[in-house]
């Protein structure tokens, strides 16, 4: 009797336990089902705070949607890595697309327009104005304009700059300009050589820029009369424009070359030693600044080279021999000429074989 009661009691407890278990399972069934199939029905989470979380899905089943996961990767949110290179935590550096778009877009397009415009303007100017002659002819007397050290520094940076500019333009525009002309295999060779040469001469260009600053800063600081020279357009408007040793245009070129030269050098060194500033974004910024500064300096340099060679009689010899004709000095730098005259720095030009004022004939043309 007691045995039968025990069996009945056990049976009731088992039924109750199964009933509780069934209710429990039924209550939890929808949640489990939602967990396994929720990624198919869950709307994308566009909350930025969620997207900024530095982790991917928290488990294999995934408590976040695939689209969230890929969106985080696409937006360059870093994951977790155990290797020292923390940049490896970013699978897709999306800013790189912006960098590429700016580099191959505005910088290339506007850069080419700027360079082309400078060449066209100078060509038209030369066609209309011709060479700026020494109006009163050569005097047969000369004034020392640049010392030997200044000339060495000038030609050193000039050679480096032309080399860097040519190789840099090949790197920037080579794909667009050279590949259609010479094909990919030949361009590959030229591009490789340009890259190596550009990288190698970069540090020398920095030293040359510093030497340029030290050698030429004296006389290139702003002076009274510079503004008047600018307002007269260097003599194109409103008659003769007086000038000291360097006119305002030359001063602008000096500071332009020094400041953009330093920017070019520092941004170039940043790219040359990418581990010093390991942020990829900084490297991309350095690359963009490098391109912009290069275009601006090359554009100005074209004008400088034009005026220093075919554009103006008597200018080049200042950098080849160090001396300029007295009449050239009087016409272009009258205040400096007067200063030299007072100091007694005006000398007779030596005959062509003598080295000083070599290109100066005895009388005017």
């Amino acid at each position: 009797m007691s045995t039968q009661r025990k069996h009945r009691s056990f049976g009731l407890r088992a039924i109750c336990a199964l009933a509780v278990l069934a209710v429990f399972l039924m209550l939890n069934m929808p949640q489990a089902s939602a967990q396994t199939s929720g990624r198919d029905v869950r709307p994308p989470d566009i909350n930025s705070t969620t997207l900024a979380e530095p982790s991917g899905p928290s488990n294999a089943l995934g408590d976040k949607s695939d689209s969230d996961f890929w969106r985080q990767i696409r937006r360059a949110n870093p994951g977790k890595v155990t290797i020292p290179d923390r940049q490896a935590a970013v699978l897709i550096q999306s800013d790189g697309q912006n960098w590429r778009a700016v580099r191959t877009g505005p910088i290339k397009v506007y850069g080419s327009w700027i360079l082309a415009a400078v060449v066209v303007i100078l060509t038209v100017f030369f066609a209309i104005r011709g060479r700026i002659r020494i109006q009163s002819g050569r005097s047969g007397r000369v004034i020392m304009r640049f010392t030997l050290n200044q000339r060495i520094v000038h030609w050193f940076i000039a050679v480096l700059f032309i080399f860097m500019a040519l190789t840099g333009l090949i790197i920037l525009y080579g794909r667009d300009v050279l590949i259609p002309l010479i094909g990919k295999p030949a361009f590959s060779v030229i591009a490789s050589a340009s890259k190596q040469g550009h990288d190698l001469f970069g540090p020398l260009f920095l030293l040359a820029t510093l030497a340029l600053f030290v050698s030429f800063v004296k006389g290139n600081l702003p002076q009274r009369g510079d503004l008047k020279w600018i307002l007269k357009g260097g003599g194109f408007f409103g008659g003769h424009a007086s000038s000291h040793r360097y006119n305002a245009g030359e001063k602008l070129w000096f500071w332009w070359a020094v400041l953009f030269g330093l920017l070019l050098s520092l941004s170039g060194l940043t790219m040359l030693f990418p581990t010093v500033i390991p942020e990829l974004g900084n490297l991309q910024l350095a690359n963009l600044l490098h391109g912009i500064a290069a275009i601006l300096v090359i554009a100005f340099a074209i004008g400088h080279i034009y005026l220093g060679t075919i554009g103006m009689e008597g200018a080049l010899e200042a950098m080849t021999d160090g001396y300029v004709d007295e009449n050239w000095a009087r016409e272009h730098h009258d205040l400096w000429h007067e200063e030299m005259r007072r100091k007694g720095e005006i000398e007779p030009a030596l005959p062509p074989s003598g080295g000083r004022g070599m290109s100066a004939p005895a009388s005017g043309e």
């Binding site: 480096l160 590959s188 020398l204 003598g354 080295g355 070599m358």
Partner: protein, 215 residues
């Protein structure tokens, strides 16, 4: 045979032979010129004077430092030290010399040191050439041979730097072609000063040393 194979093979062999025989011929010619006998009683050692002068002239005297001497001292040593270290210890050069001539190798420069040496050599030579062209006196005393030697050396170095990526045989071949031309030209131009400076300084030192003076 490829162009690279030609400039690294037969042409290099010809260039090396011309270089060695040319240098020997020129040096022998100088040595066989002989010295006019000096019958005066020697007051010092001619050999000692030659050695001391060669050592002393490695550094400029103070009086010359002010008048461009420091420029020549710095740029001259930058170029020559950079060039010789590159020539012997640059990895591609060491490998080439090991494979083609000596049969054994030696420690090569790490890449950073290679770059530093290349900067020194290129910057130094460029500055020296610019000074030669800018200084009226140096310009007047310079001959075409000076400019050919400088230009050829600069081109060899420059094309070597162009080929640094070691990814294009064309660049390597251009560098090697210019190096072959450099070797062939070496005994017949100003590049011979690499050997003759010892003789010229030694002669001056010996003449003075015999008189008991060390210039």
């Amino acid at each position: 045979m490829s162009f690279l194979g030609f400039v690294e093979g037969p042409l290099f062999t010809v260039a090396a032979v011309v270089f060695v025989l040319g240098v020997i011929w020129k040096l022998a010619g100088i040595l066989f010129l002989g010295i006019r006998p000096d019958y005066a009683t020697p007051r010092g050692s001619a050999l000692g004077g030659a050695v001391i002068t060669n050592i002393r002239h490695l550094f400029p005297r103070r009086i010359f430092l002010a008048n461009g001497g420091l420029f020549h001292f710095l740029t001259g040593y930058a170029f020559h030290i950079g060039l010789f270290i590159l020539l012997i210890f640059a990895l591609p050069h060491m490998t080439f010399l090991k494979d083609r001539i000596f049969g054994f190798g030696w420690p090569a420069l790490p890449r950073w040191a290679f770059i530093v040496m290349a900067e020194l050599a290129l910057g130094g030579l460029l500055l020296l050439w610019i000074r030669r062209l800018s200084d009226p006196v140096q310009r007047l005393v310079s001959e075409p041979a000076d400019h050919i030697s400088t230009g050829l050396t600069l081109l060899v170095m420059l094309t070597g730097c162009f080929a640094l990526q070691i990814s294009h045989d064309v660049l390597r071949a251009i560098h090697m072609l210019l190096a072959d031309l450099w070797l062939i030209y070496f005994p017949f131009g100003r590049l011979m000063h690499s050997f003759t400076f010892l003789f010229s300084r030694g002669m001056t030192g010996a003449a003075y040393g015999r008189r008991g003076v060390a210039p």
